[in-house]
Symmetry: C2
Subunit: 146 residues, 2 copies
DNA sequence: TCCTTTTAAATTGTGTACTATTTATATAGA
DNA sequence: TCTATATAAATAGTACACAATTTAAAAGGA
């Protein structure tokens, strides 16, 4: 017994569980991130910088799927906590170069056990996690097309 | 060549593609939702009410994984657009009963083609979509445990 | 009945996100 | 060189999202 409005039901959408899942998992991070004084957005920003050491705002935004409107206040906050530095590029003053500090490097050690704690909240098998990972990146790729 | 910090890389996390995917797909909705003057949060709220007709804020929040702090302003906005009504429950004045209006019912027809437009942005096969759906709800279930 | 506890919304304060615009700098032609 | 265009961040304005608190109402016992 289906009708033309079935697709409008929450339980028939793929977007809703994505949205809800994302929110709930970010919420799970909170107690762990509180211990190192980071929000989730600040945490993923630090993850890029732990790996790459420095980067301008635009490139950082491409990694994180965020624009300068979101990143500017996040980066100012991270700078105020001394985890990063913000400096204009001498060769092209339009670029702001964001780089990690020693303080920021130290934070990496404190953060190292967080991914393990989170994965213990999600009881996916290795296969299932790999499947989910693959499907999410495929979808993300589709969505990035025009 | 792996080290103890590998799990801290963005590309090794399951949470990040979830977070990014959710944001990107919500962004895809925007032009379609603009046409019917709804935001994504307002849209999923209306989806529940198109289906259930009326509900108190707490139950609505359980469906949407949102609390009254988020829902109160969303519901006031939807009321100002005449899509819903907000009334205290006569039997228990603590409960606020949210119900759909005729105006709100009419909106359902205008929204009916949105799910199709969105699924055309995501090139998952039926199997893949079903897999993703299943994994997301499994994860959501895991996350809802204490 | 009175008081304590519980419950449901609303409120407060902080921090994203996003669109659109502005500002500053750099580049590319005419 | 001068000007138009393009680019990168920052800013402004709107709308969530959440934790913590407050308010109001209901329920449950002594």
């Amino acid at each position: 017994m289906s009708n033309k409005y079935d697709s409008l039901k929450l339980e028939n959408q793929i977007c809703f569980p994505l949205y809800a899942c994302s929110k709930e998992i970010v919420r799970k991070y909170k107690p762990f991130l509180d211990e190192i004084d980071l929000t989730y957005t600040q945490y993923i920003t630090m993850m890029v910088l732990w790996d790459k050491k420095q980067m301008n705002v635009k490139t950082l935004g491409e990694y994180l799927y965020l624009d300068s409107g979101t990143l500017t206040p996040v980066l100012k906050k991270l700078e105020s906590k001394s985890f990063i530095k913000r400096n204009r590029d001498k060769d092209d003053e339009r670029n702001l170069c964001v780089s990690i500090t020693d303080e920021g490097e130290k934070l990496k050690e404190k953060a190292a056990d967080i991914p393990g704690k989170i994965s213990r909240c999600v009881n996916l098998s290795e296969d299932e996690a790999a499947q989910l990972y693959k499907l999410l990146y495929k979808t993300l790729g589709d969505l990035s097309q025009i």
